[in-house]
Symmetry: C2
Subunit: 451 residues, 2 copies
């Protein structure tokens, strides 16, 4: 038979088991924390109708993967009219519009699924990647308190992930736009252009920033005051006080007022001062968000980029329903994040097994006993593998070490004669011979000493 | 703006939150039990190269969804040469062939992912559905003990799912084929035809079965003895004794010998007698499996069909590598199973929230306190939502009842004056006013009394 060479497909990542275990642990932690805050899971199909996906516009159709049939039925089109979703926001909008009468509002949902984008692959860019989204959708209206809940959830997740200190930057789009408007920058295109220039300010330096701002039509006085405004280093309260003093227009003032309330509630939700800050230069999804916006980064590894971002939007599903559905939410791009955390050694790749215990089978005639040890440990909730191949003991121990088991159970003639087993901690080398009734206890003790 | 009507896409199921919670609970239980037996997670991309997917043949190309770009770059094909996987067996084969040098054998992996098939939709048939697969792959060889482990895992999962009594039927393809061969049924097509006829025997009755068997070339003596053979009702040990007595050829005898060893180890792994049986009429995936085969069904709801099936195969990845990779595994089709269990009321759909506790906010001026209650409960690991909208108390209680919370926390002037809260059990109506330091304890007590 001719062999077809398997090869990786560019942009479609795939992990070995040890990495997958790290990835799944993070997924589980995120899921648990979404639920800790009372978010309910939903999952939408991987595909949507093409007209649903492209309703909003602004999507690059080169990036949308449509579905065809490899072979069509006679007289049928191979084109299905379906395409893989490129985010879970459009599917959420369609879901809420479709199931509106059956949902309970405010609708608090999380959604953890792969999404697909036909981007040109490059380092850190994927064509398939997980989005971990959490949003609260209101029916007609939704309180600002929900805006404050988002940073609290991010704080819980990243603290428990133990990936070092991080800062959740908070801004309000109304402040940013109101301020730029006051300088005569009114159209969305110009606002985006201006914020991009400000964003790059620290990298490219003062002169080039000034030149760029003048190029989009700002006179040099305004360009200078804009640079000074955004470069101020103030703490959250000082920023709020300063913004209140400025009062450059109604939109701006409304934004400041909202920001102040959000910051007050972020504190009430127990987010420590050193984990968040007000940052009027933060600009995110300007075409989409309408109020509060967030972005979290690692303090010691800013190069990893945004680890979570989101914001408030006025109307989720205007393409699919006449109902007004405002909301606020955020998203963690885990497929991009985990490999970077591993690369920077912020997360460690450990064992290639989710089970910490291996029962070796030195004597094939005693397999029934080894299997019984396995049942005993599993009944105590301890994840356990029994080595089932008729291999030499040293091969089994090599397997145990390569795969990264924490504890191995060993029993030969001597142990069976005394109804005992050897419990060996592979990480410390420590081992004890105990009677079988003590096996569970000593294994648990070894496992607890590690975690 | 014109509205695009969202509508469900036939064959692509989507749950409301309460159903999704039931589905996710089952997924979690399955995942935990795979890991309890030392299976490691992997996940392959949703897509494979078309030539990889079609290498084996026997796949209906109408059922394969290929990926095109909605708009192609200039001078580029819109066809990507990629297609959505239709199972996770082909991806496993490709994965093991590709990563062979980095994997540790026996390679014990589980894989829980959606798969896609462009079938004509009909009741209970889906175009996207979850497969929960677990397999052990050997490098060159793999012990029969692994065949015995599969029923033990199925037993653990279905017992813990609490979906009623079930039977795991076990057979060995060599017995089936050896027996049919002894009657002159040698080719794979005839074997499949004959087993299909035997399968339908109980439904269509004796006369039609005889006629069908004669039609495929069996003389009536042989047809009768075949029907008698398969219709015997024996327990597992009696079947094995009977099969040993028969000894109709080498293949047959080898199958009987393997079956006996598997049954012995299934018992050693603690699977109770009433949960499994030997059934020589069981025929599953004849083109794929080469030894042990399994299928589990619910005793009181046989109409639900197979809830788990699998078997042993000689060579996993012969299309992608010259290495011999035998294995054994099984699969649970959860997307099909859960809705049927719900429909038959074997599984109950409960709350639309994963959090059992709601903190109501009677007095918007005290929001800081309510948020603090939330933090206190969450710090104790209790999944909790705080009601954040400025709505009347009765609206909040309606929300709590509709969404299915188990416990609500209530605090107004009176409670704040005495540093206490009302903890109300919505399922029993029971409520107590306790000081704030006792809140966690009483909530835990209410929650424990339910589960």
């Amino acid at each position: 038979m001719s062999i077809i060479q398997p090869s990786p497909i560019s942009g479609f990542p795939e992990f070995l088991p040890a990495e997958q275990i790290v990835f799944n642990r993070a997924l589980h932690l995120i899921r648990e924390n979404f639920e800790l805050f009372g978010f309910s899971p939903i999952e939408t199909p991987a595909v949507e109708r093409v007209d649903i996906l492209t309703a909003k516009g602004g999507v690059d159709s080169k990036e949308i993967y449509t579905l065809h049939r490899l072979a069509a039925e006679e007289g049928e089109e191979s084109d299905t009219g379906l395409a893989l979703h490129f985010d879970v926001t459009v599917p959420l909008a369609r879901y809420v519009a479709h199931h509106h009468g059956k949902l309970i509002f405010p609708f608090r949902r999380y959604q953890i699924q792969p999404v697909w984008r036909g981007e040109r692959p490059q380092a850190g860019r994927y064509r398939q990647f997980y989005q971990c989204d959490f949003d609260v959708i209101g029916d007609g209206e939704i309180s600002l308190q929900h805006d404050a809940e988002m940073p609290a959830i991010m704080y819980h997740i990243f603290k428990k992930m133990q990936i070092g200190s991080f800062t959740i930057r908070i801004n309000n789009r109304k402040i940013l736009c109101g301020y730029l408007e006051s300088l005569g920058i009114g159209t969305q295109d110009l606002v985006e252009e201006a914020t991009r220039i400000v964003d790059a300010m620290l990298k490219v330096g003062t002169d080039r920033t000034l030149a760029a701002l003048e190029k989009i039509g700002l006179d040099s006085d305004k360009a200078v005051s804009m640079m000074i405004f955004f470069r101020q280093e103030l703490d959250s309260d000082a920023w709020i006080a300063h913004l209140k003093d400025m009062s450059v227009g109604d939109t701006f003032d409304e934004g400041v007022c909202e920001l102040e309330e959000v910051v007050r509630s972020v504190r009430a939700m127990g987010v420590p001062e050193d984990c968040f800050c007000v940052d009027p230069s933060l600009a995110r999804g300007l075409g989409y968000y309408t109020g509060t916006i967030y972005e979290a980064r690692l303090n010691d590894n800013p190069g990893i980029g945004s680890i979570c971002g989101g914001g408030r939007f006025d109307n989720l599903a205007s393409n699919y329903t006449t109902k007004k559905l405002p909301g606020v939410g955020a998203s963690i791009g885990l497929t991009r994040l985990i490999p970077r955390l591993i690369e920077k050694e912020i997360m460690k790749v450990g064992a290639a097994t989710a089970a910490p215990v291996l029962i070796t089978s030195m004597d094939q005639g005693k397999l029934g006993e080894y299997l019984h040890f396995g049942t005993t440990l599993r009944d105590a909730g301890i994840k356990t593998e029994v080595f089932l191949e008729p291999k030499k003991f040293n091969v089994q121990m090599k397997y145990a070490n390569r795969k990264g088991f924490t504890v191995v159970i060993i029993a030969g003639d001597e142990e069976f004669a005394s109804s005992s087993v050897v419990v060996k901690n592979l990480q410390t080398g420590q081992q004890e011979t105990v009677t079988i009734d003590k096996m569970v206890g000593i294994v648990q003790c070894y496992l607890n000493s590690i975690h």
